[in-house]
């Protein structure tokens, strides 16, 4: 009797497991999606109604497999599209990709509805964007985080000088370190943006504090961005060696380091961590305690600027370098001295203006 009941329960839970796993288990494990799993109601966008007509500037956005409120790449790009729509008096709408096989179809929905500009988010959509841009020369495409090897006039890749973001973060770390030792736990150096972050960080630390000791550790290329255990272990090692500020950059691997550092005694007082890409105060809440700032790619601004250029008929094509900078301090606002904040802001401005070079190359 009981045994049968257990069997029934097993069968029922197996079905449930299967149902739950259906839509998410696989896509979550495959790399490339920047989704942070935000599941709350999407703000704005979508909705009934459509591009009001030929006069209005209509912007479409296709997310990578992930939600538009992911607090990361998708959301930042969408906010840029909304700002551009507001500035031009136009209209913006998004479609969330559920199945990567639908990239092309999702882009084409906007094309056939007569949209003027289409934003595609994430490097996984790179090929679909190139194909769509070639097929539709009258529509402007913004490829967020998609480096363009070949110049197509109506497709602009929004890419970022990661070395500048790393440099700014490193400069802050160099000024803030008490032990004179700082560290970084990074994804693989075979991926150019990661190496640029790492080497830029090192250059920044040494620019602020030539006496400092910088330890950079890169993951092996295999599984480089999804190894939080390794990230945590390396962070622990660096803490034990006396590092008091550690930069974590490399997807879940870097996040693993941040979360580990947040658990260390003195986190947020004497021990700090620095996040990457977007403001990780929002994407990795477990790291809030130690999070000094994040080496940020200004996606919202870059997306907006490119869309405004498209509206003005000055769409550049090829690659467009977005701005980088540092995310707000949040909880560590009070810990960072005012003169450090001023000095770092100065460095960020000089990097943006191009008057300060990071002297980092991939060579």
């Amino acid at each position: 009797m009981h045994r049968k009941f257990v069997l029934a329960a097993v069968a029922a839970s197996a079905l449930l497991l299967a149902a739950c796993g259906g839509s998410s288990s696989d896509s979550a494990s495959s790399g490339g999606s920047e989704s942070a799993g935000g599941s709350s109601q999407a703000a704005g966008g979508g909705g009934e109604g459509d591009c009001p007509g030929a006069d209005a500037f209509c912007i479409g956005l296709v997310t990578d497999t992930g939600k538009v409120d992911d607090k990361s790449f998708n959301q930042s790009a969408w906010e840029g599209a909304l700002e551009a729509a507001k500035a031009t008096g136009g209209y913006a709408k998004y479609v969330e990709t559920v199945d990567p096989k639908d990239y092309e179809n999702n882009i084409n929905q906007f094309v056939s509805a007569g949209y003027d500009a289409i934003v595609t988010v994430g490097f996984l959509m790179g090929e679909a964007s190139v194909a769509a841009a070639k097929a539709n020369p009258n529509v402007n495409f913004v490829g967020v985080d998609q480096f363009q090897a070949e110049t197509i006039p109506n497709l602009t890749g929004l890419v970022f000088p990661e070395d500048k973001a790393g440099f700014a973060a490193g400069y802050l770390a160099g000024l803030m370190t008490k032990t004179g030792k700082v560290g970084a736990v990074l994804g693989t150096d075979t991926v150019p943006p990661v190496k640029l972050f790492g080497e830029g960080y090192k250059a920044g630390v040494l620019a602020a504090n030539p006496e400092a000791e910088v330890t950079l550790v890169y993951h092996a290329p295999d599984n480089a961005f999804n190894d939080p255990e390794w990230g945590a272990a390396e962070a622990k090692k660096q803490l034990a060696q006396g590092a008091d500020i550690i930069f974590g950059a490399g997807g879940n691997t870097g996040n693993g380091a941040l979360i580990e550092i947040a658990k260390a005694p003195g986190a947020g007082e004497t021990i700090f961590c620095i996040g990457v890409d977007t403001d990780q105060y929002a994407t990795v809440p477990q790291a809030q305690k130690c999070l000094l700032t994040s080496a940020e790619k200004k996606l919202t601004q870059g997306t907006r600027d490119l869309l405004l250029l498209a509206k003005e008929g000055k769409f550049p094509g090829g690659n467009f370098l977005g701005l980088t900078g540092l995310a707000p301090f949040h909880d560590t606002e009070a810990v960072v001295p005012e003169e450090v904040k001023a000095k770092v802001a100065e460095i960020v401005a000089a990097l943006d203006a191009g008057t300060l070079k990071t002297d980092v190359s991939l060579g």
Binding site: M1, R3, K4, F5, L7, A8, V10, A11, A12, A14, L15, L17, A18, A19, G21, G22, S23, S24, S25, D26, S27, S29, S30, G31, G32, S33, A42, G45, G46, G47, E48, D50, T65, K93, V95, E96, V98, D99, P100, K101, D102, N105, N106, Q109, A113, F123, L124, V191, D222, N223
Partner: protein, 371 residues
């Protein structure tokens, strides 16, 4: 421990006798799935209405976009193809008394196997295409056989092993696509593109893979009801003890049924690779195997019925993007409807297991098993 197998999960698909006792068994078998789908759509309608959209308009958009245009029809067929095959994979297992939750893992290894066979060799079409398809099926069969052998010779529940093998398959194909089989010179985790000679053609708007899937479903409709081997599958599903007395090798048949089930899921993966994606990329095959479970249960383990069940789900998945574009409804509403359908079609199975307790007790007393 007697001959009766305590780890066997009776799901009610193995008994062909329509006059069975129990309150749920007198309803014609077609009614339950239809009622389940309708109820799920009703619940979905409430969810859509709560988002401020007319459910009628939403459902009209969902279906008209998928079925009303040639491109829509092509994609419905493309999306339904792997679903027919994973549905068949689960169905064949159910008929032999095996609950294969591992169609997703078997599909993944089949997909990457076909990709490797598709790009690694230079062969004439007439050899290359069948070879790539068969190699994908072989990979799926081999993967499922692990669970089959453990089930037959060690009485390890295939429900548990196939779930675990799914997780292993995901990690395995991620590794293969990011290391030994990775396309050189670009950062994405994926294999090189398959050769032209291994590509499944599209006839007008009809993908050849879809025709293949239909043919396979029809074949299994015949195989399970009209052949000796099909009879063996049904018999071990029905009563392994009787099967053994009748001279059927129960262990061998379990392994074979599991391998056939895996080969079908592997075929689904192979067709995806050779007909739709053109290479293996891990994220491209998410969830197909799990939909197979819904389809098999919706089809009441009838091979032919997997075709309409798969077409229903394929249509909804195709229409989801247009639904979002035109009405702003979150595309996940389709997943919700499918999950509710699964809940309704599977609830009677669980209920049956509970209601049949008395009968089982009597059987077990006479066979000397239990306590």
């Amino acid at each position: 421990m007697s001959t009766m197998d305590p780890s066997r999960t009776d799901l009610g698909f193995t008994d062909p006798d329509p006059r069975r006792s129990g309150p749920l068994d007198r309803i014609p078998s077609i009614v339950l799935p239809i009622v389940s789908v309708l109820l799920a759509f009703a619940v979905g309608a409430i969810l859509i209405w709560l988002q401020g959209v007319s459910p009628l308009r939403a459902y009209a958009v969902l279906f008209s976009n998928a079925l009303g245009t040639p491109e829509g029809l092509l994609r419905v067929m493309e999306k339904s193809t792997p679903l027919i095959l994973t549905g068949l994979a689960v169905t064949v297992g159910l008929r032999a008394g095996l609950f294969n939750i591992g169609a997703q893992g078997q599909l993944l290894v089949g997909a990457i196997g076909a990709a490797w066979a598709g790009y690694h060799f230079q062969l004439p079409v007439i050899v290359h295409l069948p070879f790539a398809i068969l190699f994908g099926m072989l990979c799926g069969a081999a993967w499922a056989s692990i669970a089959g052998v453990l089930r037959a010779y060690r009485s390890v529940s295939e429900v548990i092993t196939t779930i675990m093998l799914n997780a292993i398959a995901i990690a395995l194909v991620d590794y293969l696509a990011s290391q030994p089989l990775k396309e050189e010179g670009q950062p994405l985790t994926r294999t090189p593109a398959i050769a032209e000679t291994a590509t499944l053609p599209v006839f007008g708007i009809v993908p050849s893979g879809f025709l293949l899937a239909i043919a396979v479903a029809v074949f299994f409709g015949w195989f399970l009801t009209r052949t000796t081997q099909g009879f063996r599958f049904n018999t071990i599903g029905l009563n392994p003890t009787a099967a053994r007395y009748a001279g059927i090798s129960v262990k061998g048949t379990i392994v074979l049924a599991m391998a056939v089930s895996g080969a079908l899921a592997g075929l689904g993966g192979a067709i995806e690779t050779l007909g739709v994606t053109g290479r293996f990329e891990p994220a491209f095959n998410a969830g197909l195997g799990f939909d197979g479970i819904t389809i098999a249960l919706l089809a009441r383990a009838n091979p032919i019925a997997t075709i309409p069940a798969a077409l229903l789900i394929g249509t909804m998945r195709t229409g989801a993007a247009a639904l979002q574009f035109q009405t702003g409804i979150e595309p996940e509403v389709v997943d919700v409807i499918l999950a509710i359908t699964l809940l309704f079609v599977s609830a009677p199975i669980v209920a049956r297991l509970l209601f049949r307790n008395r009968n089982i007790k009597q059987t077990t007393v006479t066979s000397g098993w239990g306590s």
